[in-house]
């Protein structure tokens, strides 16, 4: 091995570089493997060669198919040797090579012989190897032995069979499921690990049978489980049963006593597993939490980092939902800030930020400042986010928190980290009016030296909106105009827009802004020049101080209240012509996922009863369809079309769904009918609507389908009149009426005589949500404030007992039919309160915004506070009426 090439290393440090595998080379080792074929085997030599082969594989070397096959066949020869050590290496090698099916046959008999050997070590290992490489057909041959092995008195053999069973369950479930009797017996084993493996396998066999799992848990929680690992499993299965039982009525939770008992187990892993399980219970009460928190608190001061980490990580999660429960641990947490392990320190800090009270903020910030310099960006982001929420909780403390954020903003950091800080400052400026001026200045300083174009443009845009509203807008101009000199084109263009916004809002600055904008006309980039020209003209190009009219402000500040996707589609379909593109023609409705698609998998491949996909989802398609029918021409502009409502069960003779089209003073029901009987032809299909339960509606016309052949959907319409602009509601019962004609299936000819028939459909309701368009806003807070509180209506409602907070939130959203904003429709697990922001356009084109705060009151009772703002007093009241009557 002492080749000249290696010499250089030798000189440096002879001792450290020594390795028995120095200079090892695959080709040479494969040559060496020929010793496996020697008639007189040298077990020690062979072991060494196998070790070398395994070393190569372990270092990431791979064998070609041919090489692997050669090695495999050579290795099988070694079964002749009776040396135990060599045999173990052979087992390892076979597992590593993962031979193909035809190769497996070669070793099967040798391994089966070992499975029935007297040596337990052979038996256990042969089982593991055989199960690893076997396939289904071979498995049936050895099944008998495996069943015996499961109940073998030697724990190593039993465990080997059970663990193999767990793996085989993935590939051959039907075979492994036949072993449940033996596995059940093994659960009672006195050997700790056998019990663990048996329990894991038994649960996996029965995991789809809730009742069986529940029985298993019931019997084991009463008995004794020896191994801590098995006890951990049992705790997991118990929480699963608790979760699925779902009935968390008042009173004691089933199995809670068991979990609590595990908190006194002697093994730490069991204590921790139980404590964690308790904290993760659905709707856990503070009384249930207390004992778990107490043991976790003890772990916090453990000498073992792993224990401290586990405890602080769990407490951190608890603090998100039950901050009060964790406050007892605050003193222990504070000492963890200086923990050697940075993960523990970060978790401790973020927990403290969640649980801390107002008086401790300053002290905490001091500690964090020292800490920030020596942690990685990923931890810093976590801290920044925690500080943001702390600041929103204690707005009076904004000064020290804002200072902290601006300090870390100046330090080194990657994009994600800087973005987190900037986002936090922006949110604080929005939510805490006092923080606005200092926050804006911090941002201005930051863009002076910001390497991220994205952040610069975001901040410039934000400055344009907030800056002019401050007491001294002129001080920001310098920062903004500096960008025009020093930055790339994207930032320059953004700065020009921001300047224009100052010019539009602050009359005293206008002449100076014009001077600056004119200079931009000579910029090297066309976008910058274009923007400057545009703004100079819109602001009144002569430079005189003119009254800026509403249109200009709307143009500069108005949010684009169109979904961008819709705008994109409309622009794509626009063909250049004399007629200019009309932005008002873009539909405002946010497209929801087509309902029909969800049901598709359950249906036959022919798509029976499924309405044609295209017209269902798109509003424009409905509009086109309706405008093609002359009878509806004078109804005016379509306000909204509902999603299709199924009026028949799936798989019935006739499949009908209905779409409600709302006009200003009319409502049109569109019935999509499909005939699913091959030997029938339907003619003159109409829907007879009984509107006796909808007093404000009167039927004006009904448009039948002339002919409805098999599997070709057709539409029939019924139109109603209703008082103009009034959101009338009501219930309609429907009857499908038609003439049936038999069709000869062989010739396809239709008989002349038909029979009149009727078919009862389900009721259709027009509800308040039908008068509401889902129109989102990008920045709810801005929209809310610009709406003003002139027509604000606030009231509180009790929703009674509900399944969960999330369920209550989605029920209210559906009732109102409004668009949830900023992702507020998602309710975090286990939370006790939630605020949901909704936006929409009510009939008559009235914008409506709603802010709803939900809270869980008592065990399941949900209460909510609904604040509605709109442009019309009547509409705000109407929204409240919807909720009150819903």
């Amino acid at each position: 091995m002492a080749q000249p090439l290696v010499k250089k290393d030798d000189d440096r440090d002879d001792e450290a570089e020594y390795s028995p595998f120095l200079g090892i080379e695959k080709g040479a080792v494969l040559q060496e493997a020929r010793v496996f074929n020697d008639p007189q085997l040298d077990p020690r030599r062979c072991s060494q060669v196998i070790t070398k082969l395994l070393y190569l594989l372990n270092q990431g070397e791979s064998f070609t198919k041919v090489e692997a096959t050669e090695v495999f066949f050579a290795v099988t020869k070694l079964f002749q040797s009776r040396d135990i050590g060599l045999r173990r290496m052979v087992y390892l090698m076979i597992k590593e090579l993962s031979p193909s099916a035809d190769e497996v046959i070669i070793v099967t008999s040798s391994l089966m012989k070992d499975m029935n050997s007297k040596t337990d070590m052979y038996r256990a290992n042969a089982i593991r190897v055989l199960c690893r490489i076997t396939d289904g057909t071979l498995l049936t041959q050895i099944e008998r032995y495996l069943k015996q092995a499961i109940v073998d008195k030697n724990p190593v053999v039993a465990s080997a069979a059970l663990v193999s069973g767990i793996h085989l369950l993935q590939t051959n479930p039907e075979i492994v499921k036949r072993w449940s009797n033996e596995v059940q017996e093994a659960v009672q084993s006195r050997a700790a690990l056998v019990q663990f493996h048996a329990l894991a396998l038994l649960h996996q066999i029965r995991q789809n049978d809730r009742l069986a799992v529940s029985k298993l848990v019931t019997s084991l929680t009463r008995g004794t489980v020896r191994s801590p690992l098995a006890q951990c499993l049992l705790i997991r299965y118990t929480s699963q049963v608790i979760r699925e039982s779902g009935s968390t009525q008042t009173g004691d939770r089933p199995f809670y006593d068991f979990l609590e008992g595990c908190l006194r187990h002697k093994a730490e892993m069991v204590i921790f597993e139980a404590a964690r399980a308790i904290t993760e219970l659905n709707g856990v009460t503070s009384r249930e939490l207390t004992p778990a928190i107490t043991v976790l608190q003890l772990f916090l001061s453990s000498s073992k980092p792993v224990l401290r980490f586990a405890a602080v990580r769990t407490l951190n999660k608890v603090a998100m939902t039950h901050p009060m429960a964790v406050t007892n641990c605050n003193i222990d947490m504070e000492s963890l800030i200086s923990d050697q392990n940075r993960s523990i320190a970060t978790l401790a800090i973020t927990t403290l930020l969640k649980t801390g009270n107002e008086s401790s903020v300053d002290r905490l910030m001091k500690q964090i400042t020292n800490f920030m310099s020596d942690i990685a960006d990923e931890f810093k982001i976590v801290v920044v986010e925690a500080i943001r929420s702390l600041c929103l909780k204690f707005p009076l403390k904004y000064r020290s928190l804002m200072n902290f954020l601006s300090n870390i903003l100046r330090e080194e950091g990657g994009f994600e980290y800087k973005k987190a800080i900037v986002d936090s400052i922006v949110i604080l400026i929005r939510d805490i009016p006092d923080a606005k001026e200092s926050g804006l200045l911090h941002l201005c300083e930051f863009i002076e030296d910001c390497e991220f174009t994205y952040l610069s443009t975001q901040i410039l845009h934000f400055l344009g909106i907030e800056g002019p509203k401050t007491s001294d807008p002129s001080k920001y101009i310098r920062y903004i105009y500096n960008r025009v000199h020093l930055e790339n084109a994207t930032v320059r263009a953004s700065a020009v827009s921001t300047l224009a916004k100052f010019g539009a809002l602050v009359d005293s600055l206008k002449p100076r802004i014009f001077v600056l904008l004119r200079r931009c006309l000579f910029d090297s980039d066309d976008e910058v020049r274009d923007r400057a020209t545009l703004y100079i003209n819109t602001l009144g190009g002569d430079g005189s101080v003119v009254e800026t009219d509403k249109d200009v402000k709307d143009f500069l500040f108005g949010s684009l209240d169109l979904p961008l996707v819709n705008l994109e589609t409309s622009l794509k379909t626009y063909e250049p012509s004399e007629e200019p593109f009309d932005i008002n023609s873009v539909p405002k409705e946010v497209k929801s996922q087509p309902l029909a698609e969800k049901k598709a998998p359950g249906k036959k491949p022919t798509g029976l009863g499924a309405p044609p996909a295209a017209p269902v989802s798109t509003v424009d398609a409905y509009e086109k369809l309706l405008s093609s029918i002359p009878e509806f021409a004078n109804f005016g502009k379509l306000f909204k079309s509902s999603a299709p409502v199924e009026l028949t069960e799936a798989e019935t003779e006739y499949s009908v769904n209905a779409v409600k089209h709302i006009f200003d003073s009319n409502v049109v029901f569109q019935y999509n009918c499909t005939n699913t009987i091959p030997d029938q032809l339907l003619e003159n299909v109409t829907v007879i609507v009984d509107s006796s339960e909808a007093e404000e509606f009167s039927e004006v016309l009904s448009k039948p389908v002339r002919s409805l052949p098999y599997d070709t959907p057709g539409q029939t319409f019924v139109a109603f009149e209703k008082p103009e602009g009034v959101p009338a509601v009501g219930k309609f019962s429907n009857m499908l009426k038609f003439i049936v004609k038999e069709v000869d299936p062989t010739t396809g000819e239709t008989e002349d005589d038909g029979v009149e028939d009727e078919y009862q459909l389900e009721d259709l309701e027009v509800v308040a949500a039908d008068y509401m368009l889902k129109v989102g806003v990008s920045n709810f807070r801005n929209a809310w404030e610009s709406m003003g509180d002139d027509f604000e209506r606030v009231d509180e409602y009790g929703l009674g007992p509900r399944e969960s907070l999330a369920e209550a939130v989605s029920a209210v959203i559906n009732l109102l039919g409004m668009q949830p904003c900023e992702g507020t429709e998602a309710v975090p697990n286990n939370s006790r309160s939630h605020t949901c922001l909704l936006s929409g356009v009510y009939i008559g084109n009235v914008r409506v915004l709603a802010r709803i705060s939900f809270g869980v009151d008592g065990p399941k009772d949900v209460a909510m506070k609904l604040a509605v703002r709109s442009e019309d007093e009547g509409v705000s009241d109407a929204i409240h009426e919807i909720v009150a009557s819903g």
Binding site: M269, P305, Q340
Partner: protein, 177 residues
């Protein structure tokens, strides 16, 4: 979390982050390059920490990693982010102590490479396809070392002292060769 505790990988690296022996049980790292990238990242992240007296812990790429160092050997056990940290630590301790027993308290890279067969067998006895087989270092070392005993002695009757004796015997043998 109703599944069986599972191990994603066990790594034994040297003081430069190079592999001594590694074993992956999960598909999260399909290629050797992915594995090496992961090892390098884990090594860099933990390198400066002091994990010599007590096992340390870190979170990384949605995994929990517990680790412990001795001499120029770095031991790592990786599990999913929802795994019970203490179970992972128990596996690590089992592996760490078993290697210590098998190398007769002389655990360093040179010794580990010279007895790589023992290390590989040790890994094989601790975890099978991600499922924990055994965590008691004495039992693990006993099973690995029993190779050199006579075929007649059934494993279950072997005592710890026997296991140690056989480990010692194995060592002398490898020193003599």
């Amino acid at each position: 979390m109703e599944s069986c505790p599972s191990i994603k990988n066990i790594l034994l690296l040297d003081s430069e982050g190079k592999r001594v022996a590694v074993k992956y049980y999960s598909d999260d790292w399909p290629t050797n390059t992915a594995k090496e990238t992961f090892e390098k990242a884990v090594f860099t992240k933990t390198q400066k920490t002091n994990a010599r007296t007590e096992a340390e812990i870190a979170m990384f790429e949605n995994c929990i990693i517990v680790y412990k160092f001795v001499q120029d050997l770095h031991f790592f056990v990786t599990g999913g982010e929802d795994e019970n940290e203490l179970i992972l630590a128990t596996v690590l301790q089992g592996f760490f102590d078993a290697v210590g027993l098998l190398l007769r308290g002389n655990a360093d890279k040179k010794e580990a490479l010279e007895n790589l067969d023992l290390i590989l067998l040790c890994l094989d006895e601790i975890v099978d396809g991600g499922i924990i087989l055994e965590t008691d270092a004495n039992v693990i070392a006993g099973k690995v070392a029993s190779n050199s005993l006579d075929a007649g002695a059934p494993l279950s009757e072997q005592t710890i002292s026997q296991a140690l004796a056989s480990a010692r015997e194995h060592l002398t043998r490898s020193l003599l060769k």
